[in-house]
Structures are given as C-alpha cells and as structure tokens.
C-alpha cells in the first residue's frame, strides 16, 4: 500500500502527460522539445500550427493563380484590409473565452468612430486624443450595459447582444444624421493623424528601428523569464528553443519591414514604408495577450470558461469578470472603429456591422478559440483574421466577386470548427 510503488499505468500517464503539457515546461533538450511538440500536434493540441499551415496553403494557391498576390503593393494592401478583422477578432476573444458571444460590436465600433469623426469636424476640432478617447469609450460603455444585463438578469449573451446590435444600428443612423445632416449618412474623418493609421507609413528607417526594438524587447522578456524559472529550480525551455523563437521573431520582423519598405508606388511616385496600423495591431495583441496570460483577470476568464462553478467556489466574482470582459470587447471594438474610419477616410451608416462581427467570430474560431469557452488566444484571432483577409483579398485580386468570397470563408470556418470539435473529442477520450 505504499505510494513509493508506482501504480500500473504510470507509463501510460507519463505518455499522456507528454501529449498534454506544453513542451516549454517539461522538455530538457531540443530533441525532446521537438518530440513532445510533435506528440501534441498529433493529439490535436497543436496550437497555432494548423492555422499557419492553412494560411500558407491559401497563400501558395493565390500566388499560383496570380503573381501579383505576393507583390509588396498587394501585401501592404492586405495588411490594411486585415487590420480591422484581426482586431475585431481579438475583441471577440474576450467573450468567447467565457463561452459568451458579442454580436453588437460591429455597430458599436462604428458609432464610436462616428463620435470621433464628429469631434474632429472643422472649423474647431477637438484634440484628436480626446476624440479617440470618446470613440473608445462609447463601445466600452455599451459593452458595460450589455454585460450588466447579461449577468444581473442572467440572460443569454446571444440574445442580449443581438438586441444590442439592432439598437446600435438604430443609434448609428440617428447619430450620423445628427452629426452630419444632409450628408447622406456619411461623416468624414478630417484628422490627418488618424487617417495616417491606415494610409500613412513609417519612414523606412523608423520601420527598422521599431522592429529592432520589438524584437530586442520580446527576446529579452523571454530570456529573463527562462532564467528566472531556472533560478527558481523550475523547468525552462532549452535555450536553443528560446533563441530559435527569438530568431523567428526577428526574421518575421525583417520580412515585414522589407516588404513595407519596397517601393509600391506607380510611375514616379514613391510609396514605401510599413503602415502604422501594424504597430497599432501589435500593441493591442501584446497588451491583451499579457492581460489574458499574466494577470488574475485573464486567469479568471479562462477559469470561468472552463468551469464556471469551480471558479465560483474558488471565490471568484463571476459577474465582475464577465462584465469586464464585455467592456474590454467593447473597448477593443472602439479601436476597430478608428481603424475602420481611417481605412475608409469616413464612417458611413452603410457599414455592414452585422457581417463584420460574424467575420470577427470566424477569425477567432479559425484561430483556435473554442465557442464553448476556456480555450483560445489573442494570437489565434490574429492568424484567423489574416486567413479571412487573405481569402477576401485573393479572390478580389482574381477578379472574382463576393459570392466565392463568402463561400470560401464559410468553408474555412466550418473546417476550423470541425478541427476544434474533433480535437476536443479525441482529448475527452484519452
């Protein structure tokens, strides 16, 4: 009866462990790291890999069909198109992780942008940071109200935010008509700083400096984290793995800057530089990933999504976390509104807010976020959003209309949900 004897099946357990614990925390060497990683991939715990593979396949297909696809001009165009989908996808991750959904943020983001544009209308525009603040605040407050209704009245978020979507569309129409009467439901964005988010670019030198700073900062963070774990006597990823990751980060940064710095102008006009919007998306990605991964709030979001009853018994205030998640989804949608307005140079009452939010959900789910809650990452939403954008961009480049674009997005979404569900089932069986 002694515990010193490992019960039969311990080997089995160890093998299972290898398949479920991240290699970062158990591998001792590079070889073992790769082995564990591969076991995980085969058991469906593959993280970002299938999304990246899917992205590569789609990119190769479009490049084969049109040599223009991987041209610098089109890639920068793609980035500018992807920015809002990616960011709206990140907004949706907050609530999807809880097992909830927010259908209203497509329109609330537009309302926020209308407020921003309104405040910047000449002759005496408000300072642009103030206008941005108001533009972010409106969707956040809207999310707050929805969150309060959902948690206090215990209503399903699907219905509450569907009502929110309709209400927001109504508000959008009336606010635009007040802000820009007689304009046919369109309000221009007059501020150059905000217009430059999508339409302006860093100087080639700034692009290099920003990339170098990002890589050095990210690398330093990863390396200090490893060394702190080792100092504490805990397992840390092999240095070779960490350096490989830093190198991959650097390569990705260099590629982006090289693409951005290529002259994409026509004729004698020189257009080059990395669009600023990349920096905006990167800051949102890093900030929200940090919030979800390294703070109590983030931990509680995952806990509630995984087992709300367990979270409640652990003393977590479920209502507060849920409401905060809806507020953050709204706040992020506010950022999307600014990006959207910057891309178009205006906000229109014709904005397809309902469709945009479904693209956002698709982006998050394609990127590995589970609709059942508890699983998913911000980075996944970025990759998933890129896939949605690539399909859109590629089919447009091929001169195909909206029809195949919708159908292909549908196919990819269905594939992603299938992969998610099959992975869950195979896990449940072990």
């Amino acid at each position: 009866m002694s515990t010193d004897v490992e019960p039969p099946g311990a080997d089995e357990v160890a093998a299972q462990t290898a398949a479920t614990a991240a290699p970062e925390v158990i591998a001792d060497s590079f070889g073992e790291y790769v082995k564990i990683w591969w076991t995980r991939v085969r058991s469906g715990e593959s993280g970002a890999l299938p999304v990246i593979l899917g992205l590569v396949v789609i990119v190769v297909y479009f490049q084969a069909r049109s040599s223009l696809f991987l041209s610098a001009g089109n890639l920068v165009n793609l980035i500018e198109q992807a920015a809002w989908i990616v960011t709206l996808g990140m907004a949706e991750v907050f609530v999807l992780l809880l097992g909830e959904i927010d259908l209203s943020i497509g329109y609330t983001s537009a309302i926020g942008a209308v407020f921003t544009c309104w405040l910047l209308v000449p002759p005496d525009p408000a300072p642009w940071p103030l206008a941005v603040l108001v533009g972010l605040a409106f969707p956040a407050v809207f999310g707050l109200i929805e969150g309060v209704i959902i948690t206090w009245l215990r209503l399903p978020s699907f219905v509450v935010t569907l009502a929110g979507q309709l209400a927001a569309l109504g508000l959008l129409l009336s606010i635009i008509n007040t802000a820009a009467p007689g304009s046919g439901g369109t309000i221009r964005l007059y501020n150059n700083v905000l217009n430059d988010i999508e339409n302006g670019a860093m100087s080639p030198l700034t692009g290099w400096i920003v990339t170098a700073a990002a890589v050095v900062l990210g690398g330093a963070l990863m390396l200090t984290r490893d060394s702190r774990r080792r100092a504490g006597g805990l397992a840390a990823p092999p240095p070779s793995v960490t350096w490989l990751k830093v190198a991959a980060m650097a390569v990705a940064g260099v590629v982006v800057v090289l693409i951005g710095n290529t002259n994409r102008g026509v004729g004698f006009v020189v257009v080059q530089g990395v669009p600023w919007v990349i920096l905006v998306v990167l800051v949102v990605l890093v900030g929200w990933s940090f919030l979800l991964g390294r703070t109590r709030f983030g931990r509680y979001v995952y806990a509630i999504g995984g087992n709300a009853e367990a979270a409640r018994r652990a003393g977590i205030n479920l209502s507060r976390i849920r409401i905060l998640a809806f507020v953050l989804a709204g706040l992020t949608a506010g950022i999307v509104g600014i990006i959207y307005a910057s891309q178009l140079g205006s906000v229109s009452s014709n904005v397809p807010g309902g469709q945009n939010v479904l693209y956002a959900v698709a982006a998050a789910v394609i990127g590995g976020t589970s609709l059942f809650g508890g699983r998913g990452k911000m980075l996944g939403a970025v990759l998933g959003g890129l896939i949605v954008a690539v399909i859109y961009n590629g089919l447009q480049l091929l001169g195909l209309g909206a029809s195949p674009q919708y159908i292909w997005t549908a196919v990819v979404l269905l594939a992603a949900v299938t992969i998610d569900t099959v992975a869950r089932r195979s896990q449940a069986r072990t």
Binding site: A10, T17, T20, T295, R299, G306, E309, A310, I316
Partner: protein
Amino acid sequence: MTNPSADDARPATAGRAPAPDPGQPGPARQDPAETAVARAPATAAVNGDEPLLRLVGVGKNFGPVRALTDINLDVPQGQVTALVGDNGAGKSTLIKTIAGIWTQDAGEILWEGKPVRLHSPKDASALGIATVYQDLALADNLDIVQNMFLGREPVRHWVLDETTMEKDAKRTLADLSVVTVRSVRQPVGSLSGGQRQAVAVARAVLRQARLVILDEPTAALGVTQTRVVLDLIRRLKDQGIAVIVISHNLNDVMTVADRVAVLRLGQMVSVGPLSQYDAQSIVDLMTTGTSKRLAGVPAEPSSGSSSEH
C-alpha cells in the same frame, strides 16, 4: 497505519456524550494524538484535550423535514473519521452544515473548544475547513498549478507570480507523495480520476486546511486509483490534518478510517473507533440503527432522539 490498541481505550460514546464533558473523552484521546499528530505540535499542544471539531446536539430542519436531529460528533485532528450512512441519512446535510453552506437550527459547533457560527463557506474556510465535493470543482482547461491557486494567485505588480505558485504547488504535491504527475503544468483535464482527486486535496492542503472533508472520494474510481486516494488520505492524516470521509465503500472505510460515525435517518446511531466495528456491524447500523455484532458496547440511538416515535 493507525494504532487500534490505542483507539480501543477510547469510549464509543462521542455520539452520546453530553456536550460539556471534556473530561470523559479527553485522556483517552491523548494517545492517538501523540502518535498521529506529531507533525502538528503547535495546535495539538494548545488544545490537547479538545477535538479539532465538535458537534453538540446539532439539528437542521428544512421546513417540517428534520434532516438532522441532535447530532453529536467529535473530529480529532490527525485522524480519519468515516461518515457512513444510507442514501438520505443526512450525510450531505451534515457536511454542508460543517462547510458553512447551511447553518444549523439547533446545537453548537465547537472549533478547538470554542463555539463558532458558520454562516457561509467563507467562515468555514477561514477556520481551515476545506470541503472536496464529488465534482472536485476543477477547471479542466487550466493546469494543476493554476487550479491549485485559483482565486488566490499571488501577484507582483499586478502580474501573476508563476514561479512562486509553481514551486509551492510542487512542494505541496511532493508532501502528499503524488508521484505519478509528470508535470504540474499539464491541464487537469488530462489527469486520471485519482490524480484529479489528489489535485483537489492538494489545493485544500495548500490553503492550510486543518480539516478536509472528502465527499465520496473513491466513488468513481477503479482499484488502482482508489488506492492512490486512500494513500493520499493517510498522508493528510500524517500531516496532522483532520479528515472526514464520506463513503459508501465499506472496504475503503475499513482500510483508512480511524473512527466511524454512522448516520441513519438524520440521527447519529453510533460513533466510535474503527476497532469496534466490522463491515457487517456497520451495515446493520446503517440499515436498522442497531447491531448485535458491536464489540463490547451496545449501539444505542443518539440521545434525546428516541422521542421521535
């Protein structure tokens, strides 16, 4: 594991003893306390005479339904008290009363000899009472460390202190000899039933629980996993923690318990050291309230409750 001969000396009257009578069970209780509680000397020394938890005449009604009537029970530290009874005997009501989910309508709860009122689960956990329910309340998508610290994560400048958490979790699991877990960073969803139970118990220990209540810990487990959990219960005991185990499995009770408390129809029909019982007598007590096989001491219904008829 236990010392039955020491237990033999103790009267089987905890259930029937009128409450303010520390003298009677006192001296006899010293013996096992010295052996089993050796690792928790501070509390043992201060309150050597008092059991960690004592229920005196506790009753609980739900409207006209008397779920518990005049329950007397001593739970000494460093010992495993098995709470047995048929379905509807009041086991769940009793542990929920101890866990602070329900407040008793009659009687007193004494913690280290001092009367306490448990109005909420928070009151109970503040005293060091931890309950591990059958569903374990673990989030499958979180890893072992994250589950163990859920709701009490240490932070440094708003950032989770993962290094401290992982070290403490590892140490606690090592103390409980949970050897089969390869990494404390694997998601709880990937663990076996026994391992999951171990994580839930380790969470209680990590939070400095002094009384751990286990609700049917082996109900859904196979032979190997059951053994893992029973070993775990012994480790808890070795650490000086008082354990209450609810179980339907008399084999488990006979294997791991130091004391047995039998509930029937909301009344405590018998309490005593394990040595007084065998499996058949426990079954008799559970089903009829009496047993002819009780070693030495005739089983009697709990005091004051005979008026029920």
